[in-house]
Amino acid sequence: MTKPLLELRGLSGGYPPVSVFRDVSLSVKQGEHVGLFGPNGHGKTTLLKTIAGVLDPWDGGIYFEGKRLNAVGKMQARVSHNLNYDLFRKRRINALDVVDAGLIYVMQGNLLFPEMTVEEVLDIAPRAARNRPGVAQMRRQIHDLFPRLRERWTSKIRYLSGGERQMVSIAVGLLAMPRLLMLDEPTLGLSPKLRIELSEAVRNIRETGVPLIIVDQNVEFLTSLVDRLILFDHGTITREIPAENMPKHAELMDMMFGGAH
C-alpha cells in the first residue's frame, strides 16, 4: 500500500466563532483525482482554504507526504475582547510552508492582480517552485494548454473575461510545479463554450499525472474528470463514491436531497 500524498485527520475549522466544517478525514493518493461535491455554503471552499493555509485550522491534522503542516493541538477560543488580542496569537499554519511542500490552491473566482499583465503574472508565478525543476517545460506547456492566453499576453488582468482569469489562475498554479493541485470551482460563472475549453484544459492537466482535488457544481464536468467523488454536506463528508458507479446528475440530487429535486 502506498503512503497517501495528502491526509486530513479529523480536521475542523471555520471563521471564528462560526464553525464551518467538523471532523473531516480524507486521504488522497499519488496520481489520484478527487472530486468534492456539495451544496453552496456548506464549507467546501473553507476546507480548501484551511488546507492551503489561508485560514487557521481549529483542530485535527493536515499531513502532506507524512509531514505535518499545521500546529499540534486545539485552537484556543478567543478569551478576550481586547482589540490587540490577535497580535499575540500565533498562526497555526503557514501558507508559505504549504506552498513550499507543493500543495497549490487555485482560488475560486480569483481576481489575482488586477493591474498586472498576463505576461507579468506568469513571469512571477514560478517563485513558489524555486526548488523544483521543469519550470521552463511547464511554460511551454501553458501555451499549448491555454492558446487563448497568448492573444491576451499584454492585457491587464482586470480587462480579461472571467474564463480568461480562471485560465491565468490555473496557469499560475501549474507554474508552481504542484505536487497536488486544488481547483476551486474552475467553471464558476463561465459560458458553455468557455466551460468546454476549460474542461479540455483540465483534462489535459489530468493526463500529465498531477493529482487533483476539484470542487465544482457541475456534475457532468466533475464526474468525467475524477476517480472518486466525495459528497460534502453540512460541513462534513457524508459519502464517497468510487469511479465504477459514478452517478448521473439526477441520481446525485436524489442521494443528497432525498428526491426533493
Binding site: A52, G53, V54, L83, N84, D86, L87, A95, L96, V99, D100, I104, Y105, M107, N110, L111, L112, F113, P114, E115, M116, E120, V121, D123, I124, A125, R127, A128, A129, R130, V172, A176
Partner: protein, 295 residues
C-alpha cells in the same frame, strides 16, 4: 515682473517639484503597498540628510558628496527594511491597522527626531554642495547644481518605476500590493516584500533629504515641512498610477514658488491647503487619478 524673474521663479518651482516628487513617491508607494500612511517619512528625510552631512564632514575631496549620498541611501534602505517589522508588521492582523500605524509611525518620527537632536545638536547645518557654479538660463542665472539635483531625482524615479515594472522582484512587490492573499498562495514572502517597500521609500526620502540639506539649512525638525508637502502632493495627485504624485509634485512646487513671490512666503501653505481641500471636494480621487489605488 520681467521675463528673467519669471524664468527664475519657474525654475525654482520645478526644482522644488522634483524634490517633492521624490518624497511623495516614497510615501505613495508605501500607501499603495502596505495600505498605511507613514508619518515617519519626514523623519527619514531628516535622518538621511544628517547622515549625509556627517559623512561629507569626515570624507575629504570631491567624492565626499557622492560617498555621503551612497552611504545615506544604503543605511536608510536597511533602516526602513528593519522598521517595517517594528512599526507595521506587528499590527497587520488588527482591523485597526491604519490607525495603529499612524500612532506607531508618529512615535518613530518623534524618536528619530529626538535622536538626531541628541546626536547632532539643535544648530543649523548645511551639506556643502559639490558644484557651486552658475549658468545663464534664458536670462536667469541659475545654479548648475539645481539641474544636477533635478536630473538625479528624475533619474531615481525612473529607475524605481523600471524596477517595479521590469524586474521579477519589483513585479512580486506589485503583486503583493494588489492582492495579498493570492500573493501568499503563490508562495511570495509578503512581509519581506513589504519591508523592501518601506526600505525603498526610506531610501528615496534619504536622497531627497541630502538634496534639501545641500540647498537649505537643516535642523532636527525640518522633516515636518517635507512630510506636509508630500501629504498635499499625494492627496492632490492621487495614487492611481506611479506617475500621478509626480505630476502633482510639479504643480505644487510651481504654485508654491509663484505664491511665495506674489502673496508672500507665509501664504503659500495656506494656498496649497486650500487647493487640497478644493480637490478633495471636487475630485476626491486626485487630479491625476481614478478611483482605484494601485501600484
Amino acid at each position: 515682473m520681467g521675463f528673467e524673474a519669471f524664468t527664475f521663479i519657474l525654475m525654482s518651482g520645478i526644482l522644488l517639484g522634483g524634490l517633492y516628487a521624490l518624497m511623495a513617491t516614497g510615501l505613495a508607494v508605501v500607501w499603495t503597498t502596505l495600505g498605511v500612511f507613514n508619518f515617519a517619512h519626514g523623519a527619514f528625510v531628516t535622518l538621511g540628510a544628517y547622515m549625509a552631512w556627517q559623512v561629507s564632514q569626515s570624507v575629504a575631496g570631491g567624492f565626499g558628496f557622492l560617498i555621503a549620498v551612497a552611504t545615506s541611501v544604503t543605511v536608510m534602505f536597511c533602516l526602513g527594511f528593519v522598521l517595517h517589522f517594528a512599526l507595521i508588521k506587528p499590527f497587520e492582523r488588527n482591523q485597526n491597522v491604519v490607525l495603529l500605524a499612524v500612532v506607531s509611525t508618529l512615535a518613530a518620527a518623534s524618536i528619530i527626531e529626538n535622536a538626531v537632536l541628541l546626536n547632532w545638536g539643535p544648530r543649523d547645518k548645511q551639506i556643502a554642495p559639490p558644484i557651486t557654479s552658475k549658468i545663464d538660463f534664458f536670462g536667469a542665472s541659475i545654479n548648475t547644481f539645481d539641474f544636477v539635483i533635478l536630473g538625479i531625482a528624475l533619474f531615481a524615479l525612473f529607475g524605481l518605476a523600471l524596477f517595479l515594472r521590469r524586474t521579477t522582484v519589483g513585479r512580486t512587490l506589485r503583486a503583493a500590493a494588489q492582492n495579498r492573499e493570492a500573493a501568499e498562495l503563490m508562495g511570495l514572502n509578503v512581509p519581506k516584500l513589504f519591508a523592501i517597500t518601506l526600505g525603498l521609500s526610506a531610501a528615496t526620502a534619504a536622497l531627497a533629504g541630502v538634496f534639501v540639506g545641500s540647498l537649505r539649512f537643516i535642523n532636527p525638525t525640518f522633516g515636518a515641512d517635507p512630510l506636509m508637502k508630500s501629504l498635499i502632493v499625494v492627496i492632490l495627485g492621487g495614487v492611481a498610477r506611479f506617475t500621478s504624485p509626480i505630476y502633482a509634485a510639479f504643480v505644487v512646487g510651481i504654485v508654491e514658488s509663484f505664491s511665495a513671490y506674489f502673496l508672500g512666503l507665509y501664504w503659500s501653505p495656506a494656498l496649497l491647503f486650500a487647493m487640497m481641500i478644493a480637490v478633495l471636494l471636487i475630485k476626491p480621487e486626485g487630479l491625476f487619478g481614478h478611483r482605484s489605488k494601485t501600484l
